[in-house]
């Protein structure tokens, strides 16, 4: 069990270091100390993240069971706060300015929702201590949790952050699937979500419509919405097998690639480290996720099990959607690549999530 702690720690550390290298390479030529110092800030966040990781890994996750409603309430509170006081950046109101840093409550909300769902579906029957979720009817199994998930999700989508919202939806579906809720209900939920999609089209913001259309064909708007995808594909493709070498990527260093240190950091990395480096990176992410699943499978406590599954799913989906979006295989949504992308909230929340994962593995024997 010490095993999983070190594995996850080492993998996360390697990825974090690669992230710092990539952030440095994409910003060191920019003018202004604020840009050139950005990698140092990321390093600071990683150190804070590691501290959280160590702290959380020793903090019994069962306490989350009790704190569940409090955490959920805090998340909703922050999301509401964003509406009123949020900092508008890149056309979206996602950040809260706290002291000297910008905090992104939606990152925190993702984790809160997972904790909430794990708690909700791991309630046990009083008679035979079996899980209730298998016996849930459609109201208890689908509608009620959907309302709980839907509230923060709605707030996140309204920021607007369609990507995070939809990802939460996918995590929700994944957890529903894993908690023995009847397939029939899940299919009903799916149908209820997919059928009105053409109708929802009208509620999408223009830029969201544009992004979806551009995802279908990036060349319809090569200088506008399609530009990023085109440049990102060029960056990944031009890396070839061995890459162009650290600090030698022309796409990222000459600023052809926008957001090269945040959402499109994978393209930055891939340009410099090539197919070899990128596939190793993907492998490392897979190994972390796999650790998560292994932990989930050998945990007998259903709350811990679901929590581990949820965290693993969250990581998987974030990594998959971000990398797929970098390669032009998914529409451009504002999702960071966990641990690698520049951004304090994301780094912090990911390390906390990993800490919970390690803690689940460490404490499961108690029960």
């Amino acid at each position: 069990m010490r095993n999983s702690f070190f594995r996850i720690l080492i993998l996360a550390l390697i990825i974090a270091c690669l992230g710092v290298l990539s952030i440095y390479s994409s910003t060191f030529q920019k003018e202004g100390t604020q840009w050139q110092e950005i990698y140092k800030r990321q390093m600071l966040w990683i150190i804070i993240g590691l501290a959280c990781f160590f702290f959380i890994s020793r903090f019994n996750y069962r306490k989350l069971w009790d704190a569940n409603y409090f955490i959920y309430g805090v998340a909703i509170f922050f999301l509401l706060l964003v509406f009123g006081l949020g900092v508008i950046r890149l056309g979206a109101q996602r950040w809260l300015r706290i002291a000297w840093f910008n905090f992104q409550p939606s990152e925190f909300a993702k984790l809160a929702i997972i904790i909430f769902l794990a708690r909700y579906f791991s309630r046990k029957s009083i008679d035979d201590t079996s899980l209730l979720s298998g016996k849930f009817g459609i109201f208890q199994g689908i509608i009620l949790p959907f309302i709980f998930v839907g509230l923060p999700m709605f707030l996140i989508i309204e920021q607007p952050d369609l990507g995070s919202g939809l990802m939460l939806m996918l995590v929700f579906m994944g957890l529903l699937y894993l908690t023995n809720v009847r397939i029939k209900y899940i299919l009903i939920l799916l149908a209820a979500l997919i059928l009105p999609l053409p109708f929802f089209w009208h509620f999408l913001h223009d830029y969201q419509k544009q992004r979806l259309l551009v995802f279908l064909n990036p060349n319809i708007d090569p200088l506008g919405a399609g530009y990023t995808v085109i440049q990102s594909r060029i960056a990944i493709g031009s890396g070839g097998f061995f890459g162009r070498g650290w600090l030698h990527g022309s796409q990222s260093q000459l600023y052809f690639l926008p957001e090269s240190h945040t959402d499109f950091i994978f393209a930055t990395f891939s340009e410099q480290w090539g197919f070899l480096g990128s596939s190793l990176l993907i492998l490392m992410y897979y190994l972390i996720v796999r650790q998560g699943f292994i932990i989930a499978q050998r945990t007998h406590d259903s709350f811990g099990k679901l929590l581990a599954y949820g965290i693993s799913l969250l990581l998987t989906l974030q990594v998959f959607i971000n990398i797929a979006m970098n390669m032009g295989l998914a529409p451009v949504v504002g999702l960071p690549l966990p641990i690698m992308s520049y951004g304090g909230s994301s780094v912090l929340v990911t390390f906390i999530a990993l800490g919970i994962l390690v803690n689940i593995d460490r404490t499961r024997n108690v029960f």
Partner: protein, 571 residues
């Protein structure tokens, strides 16, 4: 299967999909994306080498290059462009509006530097160069331009240079020609374009996403084109052009032993510099000129050879033994052939072959021609190089034409009459010959029996291949035939009543034949074709004047040319 295993599987598939996507982008399409990436950030600033010079046989420059300077701007965001253009306008004294218009007009794509001003002065180029550190996106490049020190001299031989046209581009694309390339049109410029052509070199520089100059990646020096050495003699060429100027026609001087063209002049001519200066009004005026100044008359158009053709008839008669030294015919001013009266230009009385050539007696040659027969005349004309392409180097050669009974029967379904034979015997009718063919015809008699292939390019890039160019074909005539005809040609000048008697006052002995070609409309064409010195011919000269009057006019010009050559000690 358990739900968690299915989910596990789905996750493995998801990560595999990422790896597969990576394979596709990085490995399968990697080369394409690498190219795209380079075109994003690498700009090539081409620097032209200079086109090869065109030299005369002694290495004197006929056409060379002079350096001019162009100003280019790297496309980038508008703010920077405005700053750069403002600087340029301050130094060049041109309005910003003009520069902006030029920028808009010449803009191709973000990856190509845009030329905003051309042919600026050296002083301006230097002062712009001083701003290199402040405004690295302004680029001043030297550009060699064609320079014609003698203006229109030898323009038909040299040709001109201009932007490549669509037709040539489709033909030449495979040889590395691009749109907007400057290529040769007409003459040596076109024929030897591949050797004359310079190779572009240039800088490759790195720019950022705003097109801002970052650093120089590499420099490849441009390579100059190869020099082409012509067989022309600059001083003779100058003399011929001076004497021809103002009269429509052409003059050719050729070495009768090797076939080297020493001078080739046509009038009307043009100044190739107008293409370099892009004076489109003048150019279109020249193209629409009914006198066709771009036509290389010496090779590109054919005319009735008139009396000069009598040499062919005489040699055919001698070879076929239809006439000999003792043959003489009486010229009474005209002769009846069939029911038609064919007249001579004078009443000559009894004429032998020498007199007949000297006086250019038509009656003698009507009779000789009728004795020989039209088909034979045609055959001998072909033996002497008429009616076919001689494979001259310059483009636009025509083959001329000699009619024959057989040809007429096959192509026109018409019979050949004796009247036609008589007409052909004095080089009229359908008989068409280019001035160069006429020159070559006389060369056979000057060198006594060798049909040459005239050529005009002696060497390319210092590599002399005149030996390979010199192709001679023996003309299997009897020695006496040549001697008789050369004597006859000498008499044209030396005989007091010879048609070319005007040349007898020259210090050099000249032999030759005049010709006056009747044309359906306008004044007659004038010919003088000859060689000198008679005993040891070093030059064949052909003077042809289109609608220039009687042959006498051509002889006069020939005389002036030979006189001037003699005065300059060229003979």
């Amino acid at each position: 299967m358990e739900r968690k295993s299915i989910l596990n599987l789905i996750i493995i598939i998801m990560f595999s999909a990422l790896i597969i996507g990576l394979c596709d982008l990085g490995l399968l399409q990697g080369a394409k994306f690498r190219r795209l990436s380079d075109s994003n950030c690498i700009r090539l600033i081409s620097q032209a080498g200079s086109r090869g010079n065109i030299l005369d046989r002694h290495g004197e420059i006929i056409v060379d290059n002079k350096i001019s300077y162009d100003v280019m701007v790297l496309p980038q965001d508008l703010n920077h462009i405005d700053q750069a253009l403002a600087l340029i306008s301050r130094i060049l004294g041109v309005e910003v509006k003009v520069l902006k218009a030029a920028f808009k007009k010449n803009f191709i794509s973000n990856s190509v530097p845009v030329t905003v001003a051309t042919n600026i002065k050296l002083k301006e180029a230097i002062s712009l160069g001083e701003f290199k550190t402040e405004q690295p996106s302004i680029i001043v490049t030297p550009k060699p331009l064609r320079h014609y020190p003698y203006g229109p001299l030898a323009c038909h031989v040299v040709g001109y240079v201009n932007e490549i046209d669509r037709w040539r581009l489709t033909k030449l694309e495979d040889y590395g020609y691009k749109t907007k390339d400057i290529v040769g049109f007409g003459g040596v410029e076109e024929k030897y374009d591949y050797y004359l052509r310079q190779e572009e070199g240039g800088l490759s520089v790195e720019v950022n996403h705003r097109g801002k100059f970052m650093r120089v990646l590499g420099f490849e020096p441009p390579r100059n084109g190869k020099d082409v050495t012509l067989t022309l003699d600059l001083s003779i060429q100058k003399i011929t052009e001076e004497n021809l100027s103002g009269k429509k026609g052409s003059v050719i001087l050729m070495d009768p032993l090797s076939g080297e063209i020493l001078a080739l002049a046509n009038f009307p001519n043009f100044n190739p510099a107008i293409f370099v200066e892009q004076r489109s009004k003048l150019i279109s005026g020249l193209f629409n000129d009914p006198d066709a100044p771009f036509l290389n008359r010496a090779i590109g158009s054919s005319y009735p050879l008139a009396s000069v053709f009598k040499i062919v008839v005489a040699s055919a008669g001698l070879e076929l033994k239809k006439i000999n030294l003792s043959t003489s015919f009486v010229c009474q001013g005209s002769i009846m052939v069939g029911a038609r009266k064919f007249s001579c230009w004078d009443i000559h009385g009894s004429e032998d072959i020498f007199q007949a050539i000297a006086h250019s007696c038509d009656v003698f040659f009507y009779k000789t021609g009728l004795l020989i027969g039209a088909q034979n005349i045609h055959d001998y004309a072909l033996k002497l190089g008429l009616s076919r392409n001689m494979g001259f180097e310059l483009a636009g050669e025509t083959s001329g034409f000699i009619p024959s009974p057989l040809w007429r029967k096959i192509n026109k379904f018409q019979n050949w009459f004796n009247g036609d034979t008589a007409n052909l015997s004095i080089g009229q009718g359908d008989c068409l010959v280019t001035p160069l063919q006429a020159t070559n015809l006389l060369a056979v008699f000057a060198n006594r029996g060798y049909l040459l292939s005239p050529y005009i390019v002696k060497a390319v890039g210092g590599l002399d291949f005149s030996v390979k160019k010199k192709r001679v074909m023996g003309v299997a005539f009897k020695k006496s035939t040549f001697e008789i005809i050369v004597q006859g040609l000498a008499k044209v000048v030396s005989d007091s009543e010879g048609t070319g008697n005007i040349l007898s006052t020259l210090p050099v002995k000249v032999a030759g034949k005049t010709g006056t070609a009747q044309v359906s409309r306008g004044a007659t064409h004038a010919w003088f074709v000859g060689f000198f010195p008679t005993d040891k011919p070093r030059y064949v000269i052909c003077v042809f004047l289109e609608n220039g009057g009687p042959g006498h006019a051509a002889s006069l010009i020939a005389k002036q040319i030979i006189e001037a050559m003699n005065n300059q000690g060229l003979i």
